[in-house]
Symmetry: C2
Subunit: 194 residues, 2 copies
């Protein structure tokens, strides 16, 4: 299989994440990102409104896919099965770039309080969106909130295992997030018994 | 019962939260906070290192109390009972000021992305600290992570009900956070059955 070759948008994201890791989010400029990616500044602005947009663009898509999957799950599906449908929908949008970026974003976040805050707000936003989608399905409030937190944990844990594992295989993300969901479902059963 | 009278430290926190709500976190200065609280700037700096410190001081205490409560729960306590011990320890430190501030902080956070990020990072930090405290007790990883998320949800939900309810009673916080924990435990049992 030929190695995956990133286009301009992908190169910009990779360059930005590497620069954030090396010198921090705050001190990295759009000019530096474009230079590192080997494109012009005007190419940057064809793809992104600003440096911040580069990080939030993916987040909005993720939130939309998770909630769409939950909304479109069969009417009889239980809350965690609906969450599973959301995970499958969101996972299917994650390709080689996301997998390759995973450990690099983790490294960039580790050294930047600004990025830690963004990352935390992203988790909270995903949980809120999933809670709302479950409540729309008629799931009562505390159950919906808990199922949504389980969904966020499952996505994070599955994504981490997928992106930190052997990236030369061509495994998709969905089996990883579904395995994490099954593990958390079992953990929930264990917790309710003690 | 006499109305509770705040001291300088408490007046500074109240003034800051009101100013954050009125004009945003970024544009509020230490000078304005001190003026509104009716104290000098040097009094401000006797209590807090800077504007940011005013928000994070309480968070560190909360995290410490939650994890101490978990660590000191009886050896035979299950994960959620240990979380309950953490909630009791942390709740006991919350008095009239915290109760009065609850809705005001919520209003300030609602209008400030900066404060939303801080608030989100606080939740993530509390969950990580509780997960670590549970793992130290020998709780296996996915169960610990889930129990910690349940603990954070229970604290947030219990605190919201306590601070948004009738604040003229002298109820303590602990029964609210423990009731929220019981509700989430039942939600977990419901989720694992479907």
């Amino acid at each position: 299989m030929a190695r995956w070759e990133p286009g301009a948008r992908e190169r910009l994201v990779l360059a930005a994440v590497d620069l954030f890791t090396e010198q921090g989010y705050d001190t990295t400029t759009v000019t530096q990102i474009a230079e590192r990616a080997g494109v012009t500044k005007s190419t940057f602005f064809r793809h992104f409104a600003d440096k911040r947009d580069l990080l939030v663009a993916g987040q909005e898509t993720l939130s939309r896919l998770l909630t769409e999957g939950i909304a479109e799950a069969p009417a009889g599906a239980g809350p965690l099965d609906a969450v599973g449908a959301g995970l499958v929908r969101a996972s299917s949008a994650m390709g080689p770039l996301n997998r390759e970026l995973g450990p690099r974003i983790k490294a960039a976040v580790a050294v930047s309080e600004e990025l830690q805050q963004r990352d935390a707000l992203k988790s909270v936003g995903l949980a809120a969106a999933m809670t709302a989608a479950l409540i729309t399905r008629g799931v009562p409030d505390p159950v919906a909130a808990l199922a949504a937190e389980i969904g966020v944990l499952a996505f994070k844990r599955g994504f981490a295992q997928w992106s930190e594992g052997d990236r030369d295989d061509d495994h998709e993300l969905a089996p990883y997030t579904l395995a994490a969901l099954a593990e958390l479902r079992a953990a929930g059963a264990a917790l309710s018994q003690v």
